[in-house]
Amino acid sequence: MSQSEDKVSENSAEKKQPRQPGENEQGNGSSGPILLLFIVGLVISLIIGWVIFPKLLYSQKKQPIDFNHELHNQEVDEGCISCHFFREDGSFAGVPKNEQCAGCHEEVLGESTDEAILVEEYIAKDKEIPWLIYSKQPDCVFFSHAAHVKMAEMGCKTCHGPIGKSTSLKMYEENRISGYSRDIWGKNISGIKKNEWDRMKMNDCAACHKEAASAKASASKRSPQLFFDLLAMVFPDAGKPQKTEACFVCHK
């Protein structure tokens, strides 16, 4: 019995000894490559996420005709709504149809090739121009221009930016997954915006609506109601929901 026990302890001592230097080696020498590879992984994924991914995500599409907003703006009397008008029933017409263009462009004006395309390809053939719309939202989003432009008296620029001063149409960048323009998420992939019109996501709507709602609330100077205020903090949708903030206001 004892003989065999000795043998076992001998064997284990022998085995332990050569492992010692190996462990030290790993402890000292491998911390370098581990950290390095961590950084490499970090950098590569950051490059993929911040640089390559946005490039892959969007496809570039050219508008059928290059349109000069500034030039047209000078020609019309009522600014944007001369072409982007409200219909008699109050609904917003959006992008003009051939009918509006044909008022002036029945025949080719000037020498630009875009002008020739407009007249020959679309107006003469009575085919609507397949404009790519930068601000197009999904069908489930209900947006009333009348409520914002007419009732709240907001300018077009607030959401659409200084497009009226542009001399040519920028490249339309289409999101390969969702199918919408890059302008909805914003040019900046991080989602940070400098101007109000840089993004058109739900939060951008919400930010403005919240502001308007709180301005309204402070203006009404209601007496503090502790219980209801607390309730509203815990359950923002409970109690009296702000009409402009309920989900179904926009999501029909």
């Binding site: 590879l37 961590f38 992984g41 994924s45 911040w50 029933d89 999904p138 999101n175 992939i189 989602g191």
Partner: protein, 743 residues
């Protein structure tokens, strides 16, 4: 540098940390969520300018005004026209679903020539020129052979410019065989001819009646103009008007009526005369009318008093004599009572005796041409079609001298105008080929005529059939050539009458959308064809095209019609009794036997008195089942209960006692057999039906159209035979002997 497991993990962790710090996962998540809501097969309505265009629905004879909602140029919804005299904003489920017919797959997309055998669905697209030449060639051939009379036309209506163009063409060509599809209009027109001596349609002032006695008429099943009847029914509920429904099955109308009186089917005439008996005996009738405006009332009275006492009526109808007495008193005691008849939707004419008895009941209480009564709406009043007479050449003259194939207007049926049932029968029984060329317009006889088996046989005997249908219906499917008409939302057409409406009215069907396919207006086809044929036929029609024809014909009404979609004769007042009757005596004629050699009031039986058929099959109608020339589009078929149609199986109603007798339970599969054929169906146990009856829904079992309309249930017309009314020759079958065989 050796990359081991730990360093690899470190790389991955670094990558994961970097990815988390980059917008990639967050942006992807957002895009994916949008993507899931934006699958390409999700229908997204186009955005555009909203507008409405007024037109008239022509899917049934109801003549409702429709307002079509358009987004830019595309119709997206059909609504009822507010303020329209017929439907005032209301619309039925079929009318609402009309866009599915416009855009659906059952449209015929251009002129087509049959290539394979009939019904094989083997077609070749041809040009319009070729198609019209084909017909013109056939027409020339028949005419030069002296067989112009073998051209026939079956039409859904006989009023309005398009049916008139067909009639005119037949006139100039040399044929008298223009036939209208059957309906209660046939019977009511005959009654007004016999009793009032006028060529008129029956209109009912239903809005103003306060007691409606309905002899199996489906007020809520689509009788008359369905939407108008629905709103009238609503107004009775508000005003306290009473509805009594006499029906052999607990129909929706019966269920919603104030009283439902079940009756053995076919005995309505006896009940009507039983009620007349009580009214006369108790002297409850309108003395002013009877004394001053009736002729031969005494003879009629004698028959009614002798033969139709409540006791004897009870024996036949199964209705208790106290109920008969009470009903008669209530009816006669009401201020503005009205009795109507025509079973279900009124798709088929009925027994002349029954229609005359019900009309006599109205006459007894003075409800003729009065507020809340039945009015004779003079067809001439709204007859704006004033075309010069056709100058006939010798061929046309000789064709006009011939008798009609169906025998209408001949010695046997002197006052009957159309007999489609006899048309089919005579083709089948004749050794010669009576019809060599058949036009079918606005009708689907291959499906809707009862006794499908015989209709099929008759069609087989006709060598050349031309269908003008917009849809691939059963008749088109079995035709040789299809010259598709524009669909109803793509064409102009006048709708000169609304069934059961009590004022002259014209509706205008307008093109709401450009024709979607290579179709052509049937009016234009007739005009072009005539031009091709030259001679007196071309001279009969001098219009350039149909639109010009319509515009000229409507004259000063055109503008009103184009603007409102309808024209109604505002000057038309309650006709009253004075000068209303054009009979030889200028009175309402009660004589039946003497003047017109009509047989005595008779109860019409049904086909099949063989004891092996112990039951009677009666078809029933429903608002949810279209059974005219068009079938149920998907929106409508979805509303049909699963006790009527489940999957592809059709259900027939039987009494639970009958089920017990045959060892059947709810949903059991059976073979429903009649002398005309058999169908595999399932049974629905229903206490609202007599033990000796089986009720089957009408409007199922299409074989034409598209996969959404066809193959659902069975066509009850396959089982129903015709039963000729001896007085008029009309098909007056209300059912057929039947048996159930357990599978």
């Amino acid at each position: 540098m050796k990359i081991d497991r730990r360093s690899f993990l470190s790389f991955i962790i670094g990558g994961a940390a970097g990815t988390t710090l980059s917008p990639l996962p967050w942006k992807l998540m957002d895009d994916m969520s949008i993507w899931t809501q934006m699958w390409p097969w999700t229908p997204v309505p186009e955005n555009g300018e909203v507008s409405y265009a007024n037109s008239t629905c022509t899917l049934c004879p109801g003549g409702c005004g429709i307002s079509v909602r358009l987004i830019d140029d595309r119709p997206v919804k059909i609504e009822g026209t507010e303020g329209h005299p017929v439907n005032d904003g209301g619309l039925c489920v079929m009318g609402l679903s009309g866009l599915q017919l416009l855009y659906g797959q059952s449209r015929v997309k251009g002129p087509m020539k049959r290539v394979g055998k009939r019904g094989e669905k083997n077609w070749e697209q041809i040009s319009w020129d070729e198609a019209i030449s084909m017909v013109a060639e056939k027409l020339d051939e028949l005419r030069s052979d002296g067989e112009s009379h073998t051209l026939s036309c079956i039409s859904g209506s006989d009023q309005g410019t398009v049916p008139e163009l067909f009639k005119r063409f037949l006139d100039a060509y040399g044929s008298v065989n223009f036939t209208r599809m059957p309906s209660i209009d046939d019977s009511y027109e005959l009654v007004l001819k016999l009793m009032h001596g006028v060529e008129a349609s029956a209109g009912f002032d239903v809005e103003n009646t306060d007691f409606l006695l309905s002899f199996s008429s489906g007020i809520l099943e689509g009788w008359g103009s369905p939407v108008r009847m629905f709103s009238a029914n609503g107004s009775w509920k508000k005003s306290g008007g009473k509805v009594v429904q006499i029906d052999s099955r607990l129909s929706n109308t019966a269920a919603k009526a104030d009283h439902w009186i079940p009756i053995n089917p076919g005995n309505e005439v006896v009940l009507a005369l039983g009620l007349a008996h009580v009214i006369i005996k108790d002297s409850l009738y309108n003395k002013e009318f009877i004394t001053n405006y009736s002729y031969n009332f005494e003879n009629w009275k004698r028959v009614v008093l002798n033969e139709y006492s409540p006791e004897s009526v009870e024996k036949v109808t199964g209705i208790n004599k106290t109920i008969i007495r009470a009903l008669a008193k209530d009816f006669a005691g009401a201020k503005k009572p009205l009795a109507i008849c025509g079973k279900g939707q009124g798709k088929n004419p009925g027994s002349t005796s029954e229609f005359m008895a019900v009309h006599a009941l109205n006459a007894l209480v003075g409800s003729i041409n009065t507020d809340g009564g039945v009015w004779a709406v003079d067809n001439d009043k709204q007859n704006y079609i004033q075309w010069p007479d056709v100058k006939k050449d010798s061929v046309a003259e000789s064709g006009a001298q011939r008798d009609r194939i169906d025998g209408a207007g001949t010695e046997n049926y002197p006052y009957t105008r159309y007999l489609p049932n006899r048309f089919i029968e005579n083709i089948n029984s004749s050794n010669e080929s009576l019809v060599k060329l058949l036009f079918v317009h606005g009708a689907n006889p291959y499906y809707t005529l009862p006794d499908t088996h015989n209709v099929r046989k008759a069609f087989e005997k006709i060598p050349f059939i031309v269908s003008f249908s917009s849809y691939m219906d059963e008749t088109a499917l079995n035709a040789d050539l299809i010259l598709p008409n524009h669909a109803y939302l793509e064409r102009y057409e006048d709708v000169p009458r609304t069934r059961s409406f009590n004022r002259p009215i014209i509706g205008l069907s307008k093109p709401i959308i450009e024709p979607q396919y290579n179709t052509r207006h049937s009016g234009d086809v007739i005009i072009t064809k005539e031009k091709k044929m030259g001679g007196s036929i071309a001279a009969a029609l001098s219009w350039e095209n149909y639109e010009q024809c319509l515009q000229e014909t409507l004259g000063d009404k055109w503008e009103t019609l184009n603007e409102n979609g309808f024209w109604v004769d505002e000057t038309f007042k309650v006709p009253g009794w004075k000068n209303a009757f054009k009979t030889p005596t200028l009175k309402c004629d009660f004589s039946y036997n003497e003047l017109f050699s009509l047989p005595h009031f008779c109860i019409l039986g049904i086909k099949g008195d063989d004891p092996s058929y112990p039951l009677a099959l009666i078809p029933y109608d429903s608002m949810r089942l279209a059974n005219g020339f068009i079938g149920d589009p998907p929106f409508v078929i979805k509303t049909v209960e699963d006790t009527v149609l489940k999957g592809k199986d059709m259900f027939v109603d039987i009494n639970p006692d009958t089920a017990k007798k045959y060892g059947l339970v709810e949903g059991s599969k059976v073979i429903l057999k009649t002398p005309n054929g058999e169908l595999k169906v399932r049974v629905h146990l229903f206490e609202g039906i007599f033990q000796n009856l089986v009720a089957a829904p009408r409007g199922l079992g299409h074989t034409g159209y598209d996969k959404y309309i066809s193959g659902k249930g069975a066509n009850v017309n396959e089982l129903i035979g015709t039963f000729e009314d001896p007085a008029s020759g009309h098909d007056a079958a209300w059912g057929i002997a039947a048996q159930l065989i357990k599978v």
